[in-house]
């Protein structure tokens, strides 16, 4: 497992964090290549089942990033999402998913540095958690 690298699925809001990721590229900031981005129109679009599905597909970590409160392109999608994610994260952790696997951030399209910083932080923390052990859907355990 020494050369194990985590696989992280990142759901990024098109209007902010995805732009920050682009800008981080423009600024040639470097961070490890562990996550795969799924662009969504708003964090409000993210159905909790996407996060479950990511875990079921063996993601070692999930990262959701959207606009700062008040900056939602769709007025308040991120504020509804904030409630949803608070409960989702708690329930996932309550049922045994390690807190180090679930990450949420607010990153505006100008915050390339923050994006790169958080990216590194997310990857580092997921690495600490080690390879995902739970909630991974494999061949059905049946008769």
């Amino acid at each position: 497992m020494s050369n194990w690298e985590p696989k992280i699925i990142a759901f990024l809001c098109n209007w902010c964090s995805y732009g920050a990721a682009d800008l981080a590229g423009v600024s040639r900031m470097q961070y490890p290549p562990n996550f795969r981005v799924i662009r969504v129109p708003c964090t409000g679009r993210i159905n909790p089942k996407f996060i479950l599905s990511a875990l079921r597909h063996g993601a070692d970590g999930v990262w959701v990033s959207g606009c700062h409160p008040g900056d939602c392109h769709y007025i308040e999608g991120n504020l509804y999402a904030r409630r949803k994610f608070a409960l989702l994260k708690n329930l996932l952790e309550h049922t045994g998913i390690e807190p180090k696997r679930l990450h949420f951030s607010w990153i505006s399209s100008a915050e390339a540095t923050k994006f790169a910083d958080v990216a590194r932080e997310v990857i580092r923390t997921v690495k600490e958690a080690g390879p995902a052990r739970h909630f991974i859907k494999k061949q059905a355990e049946v008769a």
Binding site: G25, M29, Q30, I38, P41, C42, I75, K84, A112, T113
Partner: protein, 920 residues
């Protein structure tokens, strides 16, 4: 602009475009040129706090995001030309001259920030840790010189204690010639303090040194209150001097509220600098023949706030006067309205109609995916193993064609791409290149030219989010590129052609409210030729303006309202409904059907847009013995007496104004914005009538923002006495033997003062009119105080989140008449963007319900900020939700919130997102 000739409706503007030396059409924004450029200079965007190369983009949000060469510092070494694979560098670029035929001109050149270098007591020029608020903005910015980390310039240490000094270059005729208030500095200083505290790792202390705290904007007072709660210290004092102490720290000397001199040490001092019109602005005005006022702002009057002295030239923003973003945006729309009024006869004559491409019907076809992998010169190809990605893509399901290109976005590749799509019968396309945020529209254009629905497209971001950020790890970057391509392919296979639906617009307007705001909006639209239904609750037009006396500039308000009312009443395009109210509203943007009740039979009217201008009213207090004595009046009552030239006013020897009556109180926390100016203006009027009279204004903060500050200064010059009181120690008004006695604690004298005035004027709050019914009819929100809530406080100040509904005037927030007029014209301009068209198109990326799965729980209806979902009223699916594509913005909130899985989102549907997750 070199010159402007001609007249309103027929100008010729001569324009000069400076050479950029990099062809913006070829530049891909990759930034290789900047990397190799050997010279640097300070970055003006970051206020000189860091450096940039000669090849540069001024700021990250620039549109288009392409480079230019700064000829001032370029040494012509040729390196950038060598590295640019897109061949965009053009050293022999020349200035371009254009003659532009235009009908009107709008001046929106803004303003310059006051340079405090000459302010020697603050030592800005000498001490690196004394900076301007603009510099501090850059420091806090994530894209700024310190990447958003809170640091001071001198030693890049995080400051623990920061002071803001207000009114630097504003309200000041000693160090500069700027007597006016810049109107924005109080609020931005508070904002900077709050954000700096958030950025701080060590609980930074913030202190703001001010004269009057001017938080008169909507929701500003609440922000001020919150800042106080969060520990920002507000010190009422003008700072005397700033001196260096220790290693970069600063000592501030100031007089406290009791007049005692104090010294305090800070790590960083920020000068809250104001606006001024600079040399360029004055020269421009001169060239255009536009008059400036005594403060060098473009001269306008209260009733035509965006018209300059030269017909056909309009002004908006800070060139017109100091103001904040919302007011600037409103004025910008107002100027657009004024301009389109002038040009309404020639509307669409210069417009070019885009040809609608024919579209191949791909329904029922097996997906045939074409994948185009971009090398982006060496930007991607230098890191990611392109042949490997290309060959990998070939193995994926439904992929029938793969190629890689040096620049997929180049013109020749686009032509080739369209050809390949047609030849190969490709029905879905993936481009693995840069970011969809900049390039999706370009490729979608190519899709259209290849007769494919543009939504059958997906990008894999293998540059900005891969090769550029993992340049040290080509193997992993290549793996990531393959994953991203696979994810894009899995999604694109599930995409369906989307229709951009078209909906006819009823080209008529409804304006609710016949006050000044409503009338101005109605008139602007009617003058442009649109039929307007104006609904007024009372029996006559004019609203609150009828009850006012004059503007702070001395313009007669009732006369203006009267002439406006006359124009409206006789306007052929206005259908007036007096004594009327809305009873019912159906429909949505472009297609409203409203029932107006005016006594007799209700009348049904159809309109495409609605402007809400229901106005406000004066608060009638119960405190300060109001109504208990004839000498205790409100502003409107006093205005009435001014208007009637009440002879008894001559006999007033002692008058007291009490500010903030019913405003800035715990149960009505907002500032009513206009009362300070109103009191000063009335005080001056009393002084005019009886120069010998003693006039007192009892205030908490004098909020004579902008150029209104000048009459505050005039009042003080003329002997009006201003006494500050605090909320904890409000003035007392008592009736003693039929006389009025006012007691107030004077903070300077440190003792109570008693007066027995002949007149007490209460500057009472402004309340909104009843708003619940309209709020429900048009599904637009109302705040706790009853004011309507605009779509965005700064960027969309007259729009609602609900399309096709706009707002202006006091229904939005208390404001002065010039501001109401500007906002009304802005609302008209925004409305005209819809009314000018026969039909409107909606994005294909909208939500839709599968009624069979809908459980009627109503979560979608309750959460959508745009009111797109609603319950079906009749038929088999009655009670289930449906989504109006005309209102849906495609955010997907309802989709993710629907527990029943009954809502889908075209372009971002669950199946598509699941497919991407599956293929990670």
């Amino acid at each position: 602009m070199d010159s402007l000739e001609g007249e309103a409706g027929n100008f010729t503007a001569k324009l000069k475009s400076e050479p950029r030396f990099i062809d913006p059409l070829r530049c891909t924004g990759c930034g290789d040129c900047a990397k190799v450029c050997p010279v640097t200079c300070v970055s003006e965007h970051n206020c000189g706090l860091d450096r940039r190369a000669a090849t540069y983009i001024r700021y990250a949000q620039a549109v288009p995001l392409v480079f230019a060469i700064d000829p001032e510092i370029c040494i012509g070494c040729g390196l950038c030309e060598k590295v640019c694979l897109a061949e965009a560098v053009k050293y022999d670029d020349q200035p371009r001259y254009t003659d532009l035929k235009v009908g009107s001109v709008i001046l929106a050149t803004g303003n310059e920030v006051f340079n405090p270098s000459d302010f020697d007591t603050y030592n800005y020029a000498r001490l690196p840790n004394v900076i301007t608020s603009m510099e501090f903005e850059r420091i806090l910015s994530a894209s700024g010189p310190y990447r958003g980390h809170l640091m001071r310039p001198y030693d890049r240490e995080e400051p623990k204690k920061v002071a803001w000094l207000q009114c630097v270059g504003s309200r000041d005729t000693h160090h500069c010639d700027n007597p006016y208030c810049s109107g924005v500095c109080c609020m931005y200083a508070i904002k900077e303090a709050v954000i700096a505290k958030e950025h701080s790792h060590s609980g930074m202390e913030a202190a703001i040194f001010y004269m009057d705290m001017r938080t008169h904007g909507k929701d500003f007072e609440a922000y001020y209150d919150k800042a106080k709660e969060e520990g920002v210290r507000f010190v009422r004092s003008r700072v005397h001097s700033v001196e260096s102490v220790g290693d970069g720290d600063l000592e501030i000397t100031y007089a406290d509220e009791n007049g005692q001199m104090q010294q305090e040490i800070f790590n960083l001092v920020i000068l809250s600098v104001g606006f001024q019109v600079g040399q360029e602005g004055m020269e421009l005005a001169k060239m255009l023949g536009v008059d400036l006022n005594e403060n060098r702002f473009v001269k306008t009057d209260s009733f035509t706030p965006v018209a300059t002295s030269r017909e056909g030239i309009y002004v908006c923003g800070a060139f017109q006067g100091p103001k904040d973003i919302p007011q600037s945006v409103m004025e910008a729309s107002a100027a657009a309205s004024a301009s389109s009024l002038l040009l309404s006869d020639v509307r669409w004559t210069e417009a070019k109609v885009k040809e609608k491409p024919t579209e191949r019907n791909i329904i029922g076809e097996r997906p045939r995916i074409g994948v185009f992998v971009c090398q982006c010169g060496i930007n991607i190809g230098g890191v990611v193993n392109i042949p490997e990605v290309r060959e990998y893509a070939r193995t994926l399901p439904y992929v029938v064609y793969v190629e890689d290109n040096l620049y997929t976005c180049s013109q020749d590749t686009q032509v080739k791409m369209a050809q390949v799509i047609k030849e190969q019968g490709i029905n879905r396309v993936v481009v693995a290149a840069c970011t969809p945020r900049t390039h999706e529209p370009l490729f979608q254009e190519t899709m259209s030219s290849a007769e494919l629905n543009k939504y059958l497209f997906e990008m894999a971001n293998i540059r900005n989010q891969d090769s550029w950020v993992h340049s040290g790890d080509p193997t992993q970057a290549t793996e990531k590129a393959k994953d991203l391509v696979r994810m894009a392919i899995s999604k694109v296979a599930l995409l369906e052609p989307l229709k951009e639906s078209e909906l006819g617009v009823t080209r008529k307007a409804m304006v609710v409210g016949g006050g000044v705001a409503g009338m101005v909006a109605a008139k602007d639209l009617a003058d442009q030729g649109y039929p307007v239904f104006l609904v007024e609750k009372s029996s006559r037009l004019g609203g609150q303006a009828r009850k006012l006396f004059q503007t702070w500039r001395g313009e007669n308000i009732p006369a203006y309202a009267e002439s406006l009312a006359k124009e409206i009443e006789s306007h052929p395009n206005v259908k007036l409904f007096l004594n009327s109210e809305l009873k019912h509203v159906d429909g949505f943007v472009g297609n409203f059907k409203s029932t107006i009740q005016n006594g007799g039979e209700p009348e049904l009217v159809e309109h495409g847009i609605t402007i809400i201008a229901t106005g406000g009213k004066e608060f009638l207090p119960e405190e300060y013995s109001y109504k208990k004595h004839p000498r205790i009046v409100t502003h409107q009552e006093l205005d009435q007496r001014f208007a009637e030239k009440d002879p008894s006013l001559k006999g007033i020897n002692n008058a007291v104004f009490i500010q903030c009556v019913g405003s800035r109180e715990p149960d009505r926390p907002y500032c009513s914005r206009v009362c300070c100016t109103h009191s000063v203006e009335s005080a001056l009027e009393l002084k005019k009538i009886n120069p010998e009279s003693d006039v007192y204004v009892l205030y908490r903060d004098m909020r004579t923002y902008g150029e209104r500050e000048l009459i505050y200064q005039e009042a003080r010059r003329k002997g009006v006495i201003f006494i500050r009181y605090s909320l904890a120690n409000k003035p007392q008004v008592e009736l003693l033997d039929g006389k009025v006695q006012v007691t107030v604690f004077d903070p300077i004298l440190q003792r109570p003062i008693r007066m027995q005035p002949d007149l007490v004027t209460l500057a009472t709050a402004i309340l909104p009119n009843e708003s619940d019914a309209l709020s429900q009819f048009f599904k637009v929100p109302v705040n706790a105080e009853g004011f309507f809530i605009e779509a965005h406080a700064k960027l969309r100040p007259v729009d609602f989140a609900t399309d096709g509904v706009f707002l202006c005037g006091l229904a939005h927030y208390p404001k002065a008449i010039d501001e109401s007029i500007a906002q009304a014209r802005a609302a008209a301009a925004r409305a005209a963007t819809l009314l000018a068209r026969d039909s409107i198109f909606f994005s294909g990326m909208v939500a839709f319900t599968r009624t069979m799965d809908c459980s009627s729980c109503g979560v979608c209806v309750s959460i959508c900020p745009y009111n797109a979902p609603r319950f079906i009223e009749t038929g088999r699916d009655a009670g289930k939700a449906e989504i109006n594509p005309a209102l849906c913005k495609g955010c997907g909130l309802c989709v993710a919130s629907c527990r029943s899985g009954a809502i889908g989102l075209r372009g971002f549907d669950d199946s598509q997102i699941f497919a991407m997750i599956d293929s990670v």
